[in-house]
Symmetry: C2
Subunit: 214 residues, 2 copies
């Protein structure tokens, strides 16, 4: 008797772990490009190289697949912000945050697009996470930045909009990759644009925080 998701034995089989991995990988491919509504189980099944009913054996619904994907990605996505250190040097913290975010845009563009799609649609599946854990984390880091400004370590600025602008500029290189490539032309077809962006953005934000002034 087939009981999906191993309801009988609480432990997950080796096959389960492997197949769920394959499915989520395929789902990331599809969802990140077409969004939730625009993606079909058949598409994902084809990318995953298995039959549709087989997919539905591991994830009972399309929503369950999307949910699992979002949950997994959400945590690792906030990793760089979490690593933002209150005790560190402001300039190097800002620099390394930008660098890390750009590396993620370069190495995990699908994850970035998955979130972008979700945001564009009004975050119907993750609004709670935004208002809860995300807001808390941002509030905490905003307080750090505010404290730096109060201590005279950096110029005064709105910490929330600072964070927004770092998010948007870095993720832009993942989400709008086609546009960036089209505008830059084929001479930047390698990963050079990420290094150029890193140089430009680090300078922009460091100067913007007045950390380079005497």
């Amino acid at each position: 008797m087939a009981i999906p998701r191993a309801a009988k034995t609480q432990r997950r089989t080796r096959i389960q772990e492997e197949k769920e991995e394959v499915i989520l990988e395929a789902a990331l491919d599809v969802f990140s490009v077409h969004g939730f509504r625009g993606s079909t189980i058949d598409q994902i099944a084809e990318v995953a190289g298995m039959s549709k009913p087989n997919l539905l054996y591991y994830f009972r619904t399309k929503e369950a697949m999307h949910r699992a994907l979002i949950d997994r990605v959400l945590f690792t996505w906030l990793e760089p912000l979490r690593a933002f250190d209150a005790n560190g040097n402001p300039e190097s913290e800002i620099r390394s945050y930008i660098r890390r975010k750009l590396e993620m845009a370069r190495d995990f563009p699908r994850e970035s697009r998955l979130f972008a799609n979700e945001m564009l649609q009004g975050a119907p599946h993750v609004e709670d996470e935004l208002r809860g854990p995300l807001k808390s984390l941002v509030d905490e880091k905003a307080e750090v930045i505010r404290a730096w400004a109060k201590a005279g370590k950096i110029a005064k600025c709105d910490p929330y909009h600072l964070i927004f602008s770092i998010w948007s500029t870095t993720q832009h290189y993942a989400d709008f990759d086609v546009q960036v490539r089209a505008v830059l032309g084929q001479e930047h077809s390698g990963d050079g644009r990420f290094e150029d962006a890193a140089r430009y953005l680090e300078k922009l934000f460091v100067d913007g925080l007045g950390m380079r002034r005497p």
Copy 2:
């Protein structure tokens, strides 16, 4: 005999103009949220308040509707960049460009999201426009910025990444509106966040271009 899109007489009827307007308005509502694949003709028809076959009388296919929408929006969307004046004062040009882009994010968020959706999907419908007209316009304005830098009016910087960063930061307030609202909390439920963003971004970029240094 019904011939779609007035094939016989070349002129467009009053009714045609009105209905096509209504349809494109509804299509913008739907496409901007769900993307091309995720949107259905029935959805658009319901928003437009007419029957599905009636929609298809004016636009023969879903693609034709999307195409017409993109074409119309594309032109007005680049308006602010076109207005960027080589003979103007660098600081005020940058400032007003940022302000204009933020106003568009505030007043035309659907148009912004429509493009964002298209970019996320790899620009399957507009890649030619990106490589052609868009790239030309950006190349032209980039040259202006480079000339300013050479003349010592602003600090040296990569003009392409400067433009990218202005695009991304401003459009962020349209495309990621849910996230911005969630993080800022409900006390910023009005349009105040746009004014805060304008203040922050103008300062960031003006400082970044060294225009405030002695």
